[in-house]
Symmetry: C2
Subunit: 453 residues, 2 copies
């Protein structure tokens, strides 16, 4: 897949449609590309210079073949631009809109023919392109003031939609996780989710792949690449367009997996690939998987060690909601071992609830959580900890205690802490030591389930 | 229900177990009660004065019968305290824990007998009590620094759990809505959700009731009062303990609706009472209902005018997720009228998507949303607007345009705007003019559905 490597690791880039002002998309992209450390060639026949860089009139004026060409010119011009790349480039991102998404299938077919004929791999059209913070590569047409970029991290985003890319960037930043590579692939005239899965399966910076799909290309290829990826990395998919079941193409024979959502979903299940039900589930799962990447990969056919969950709470109601959600998610809120019940009853005041959930009540002290964890760590596969910070016994010191406990175990822990003025510091400290914190009990459970299954 | 009026509108309060320091719960409660404008009598035999107020040794020393007594003494002392209230009080909140919730049913039965015998209505035990901002009444045992209180508003909270009360307070503040009354009723030895529904049905400050239930008392009474309330106000219920189906009591004959969650849920559906699936759904529905209380009440058997929804977005993917969620929630993403399609195609650039969802693309300008709203306001029952603020064409000015549009229609509008640094001002402005904003497309749809159904 050397051509996809050109997409993510180009040494030289040409921008067709570069502009002198950020009021134009070609100016925003140029500004964002200025961070790139390789050679950068802005093209615009009207200018000799753009943002301090020499501007080129045409691709032929550039003194080398470039690894990657980015096109941000009106759709009708794109075929001629592509033809001009013959022998000068092997990979192009077409960010321009105005193709199949507005019904112009002919124009889209034409650029596909040209790309195939010239051996140029195409990303797009109608796409955001690539954000690769490890390479300082950013082809997005949104300025940094408008869309803050996530930090470097282990999660790759593969999104057919630019809108969802924006939402994911915001959610990822709020989740204190980071991005390895983000690709908006739009209409997928050539490079599609399957190609990207294949590439990311071997990408050393990526441990988790977050994928948003509206329509699929080749169904067999998708299954093969999704399976291959999910054997090596964590893959979580949100499929949109569930209701648009009009497309009649059958799944495996025609090679078009579009249409029937139910078929798609059952195939994912069959192959153990995780599916998110909505945007929040996507980001909740991605957060947990990004914090606990060492839980993966699974060997073929292997399942996680178990699904026994212990809930430790200082508020009864929240513990009940967590237990309900565990049941819904197929996680077992298994009873405490008898000897541990006796032991914890000796340690704790009589009004603590020594069951599962363990209820430490409003009288809780930080250390109570760790007492429970230490007693029970060998009996459960994961822990949901609920800390309602309105009580005086919970302090930021809890994070330090959890940090020490975490050294001696590989059992995943997720927290639910309600966001309020007073809890921010504890949340930050916990996430800094690698513990994901969720805004509701149910979402914490869903995060843990993504790790355990 | 004059005794319940004493609970919410007391003229005088005695606090049994008052303390001099906020390190004790009795001190926190006393501090919070200092905001109360009526007569306040702290009881503690060890002190002559507490926080600047004269302290009383026993209830008999108080020079009057009090409307409300609050008890925060160890559970074993509570029966004797209650007996001492004979002729001195008609309503008591027992905040102390240590009753049925830790298995001591005998002690709980005993206080029930005493209350009944003396004609004293009891709230609790094991409860937070009452927060009533219109009356400056606050019996909660959490200090303001630890739990910020919501502002005055139209939403009442009826929560069996203190933990969920805390979570609701945080979520309500984040939703920019306010509270009329909040009641944590704990073990419900006497006053239960049904009594509170009955009271709130006639409470002039309350337009929406948010109810969290773990176990029910009298099933017939619950149905009667829940129906009565939901005919006058919006009622949204989150039932926890769904998995604990051990209790065998049948529903309508024995009068105990505990146990089978499926029965509970189907009865709610039968009577058109809204149920939330989890905490986020509870707060999302409550938010929409609080912003659009004028949509209620429904006359008996009447349903909302329709379920036809128009989605207006500037990002295709988010529109698709919203459309999927509409389908899931039984809302119809109905096609645009043919003449309106023609009209909008004349107005807008050719690359805008004039379907439902209407896709204004990344080239959107603020006014485009209002153009669509004005053209389509008579054809739909509600609008989901998605504004991805990463693009330059969306400004805080959008709120002003929506405000003007809103004057001429009673059709509900909900927004999805992703939370990021740049969107906060627009969100604040929209919520200030009465438009609820949600952090995901799906949650916006769920909010709208709560209003339309």
């Amino acid at each position: 897949m050397s051509n996809l490597d050109l997409l993510f690791n180009p040494r030289s880039i040409a921008l067709v449609g570069a502009a002198h002002t950020e009021l134009k998309l070609g100016g925003v992209i140029l500004k964002n590309l200025m961070r790139f450390k390789g050679r950068l060639y802005p093209l615009n026949p009207k200018y000799n210079e753009l943002m301090g860089l020499k501007a080129y009139t045409s691709i032929d004026d550039i003194p080398e073949s470039v690894d990657l060409v980015i096109i941000i010119r009106p759709a009708p011009e794109v075929p001629e631009i592509l033809k001009g790349l013959d022998g000068k480039a092997k990979c192009a991102i077409i960010e321009s809109a105005g193709f199949a998404e507005i019904g112009d299938n002919e124009l889209q077919d034409e650029i596909k023919r040209i790309g195939t004929g010239l051996g140029i791999r195409l990303l797009g059209p109608n796409c955001m392109g690539v954000y690769s913070p490890y390479r300082r590569l950013d082809t997005f047409f949104l300025p940094y003031e408008r869309l803050k970029r996530p930090r470097k991290g282990n999660a790759a985003i593969v999104s057919q939609s630019g809108a969802i890319m924006i939402c994911l960037f915001n959610a990822i930043r709020a989740s204190n996780i980071g991005v390895s590579k983000a690709v908006g692939y739009g209409n997928a005239v050539d490079i599609d989710e399957s190609d990207l899965y294949e590439y990311l399966a071997d990408d050393k910076d990526t441990e988790v792949v977050i994928s948003y799909i509206e329509s699929l290309g080749d169904g067999r290829k998708f299954i093969e690449k999704a399976r291959g990826l999910s054997e090596k990395k964590s893959l979580i998919i949100l499929k949109a367009g569930k209701g648009l079941s009009g497309q009649a193409a059958a799944f495996s024979h025609t090679g078009r997996l579009a249409g029937r959502y139910e078929v798609f979903s059952s195939i994912l299940k069959q192959f153990g690939i995780q599916e998110a039900g909505d945007f929040d589930e996507l980001i909740d799962a991605a957060k947990a998987l990004s914090y606990y990447p060492h839980m993966f990969p699974l060997a073929k056919g292997e399942s996680r060690g178990g699904n026994r969950v212990c809930i430790i709470t200082n508020g009864g109601g929240s513990g009940v909601l967590a237990a309900d959600e565990c049941m819904k998610q197929g996680l077992e809120v298994a009873k405490l071992p008898e000897d541990k019940i006796e032991r914890l009853k000796q340690i704790f005041p009589h009004f603590y609830g020594v069951n599962n959930p363990v209820d430490l009540t409003a009288q809780v002290k930080d250390n109570d959580y760790v007492v429970v964890l230490n007693e029970l760590k060998d009996y459960y596969d994961g822990f949901v900890i609920i800390a309602l910070t309105g009580v005086t016994g919970i302090t930021p010191g809890l994070a330090g205690l959890i940090k020490d406990f975490k050294k001696g175990t590989n059992k995943p822990i997720v927290f639910h802490i309600a966001h309020d003025g007073g809890s921010r510091r504890l949340i930050t400290l916990l996430e800094r030591i690698g513990i994901p914190v969720y805004p509701s009990a149910e979402r914490a459970v869903r995060g843990l389930r993504a790790i355990l299954r």
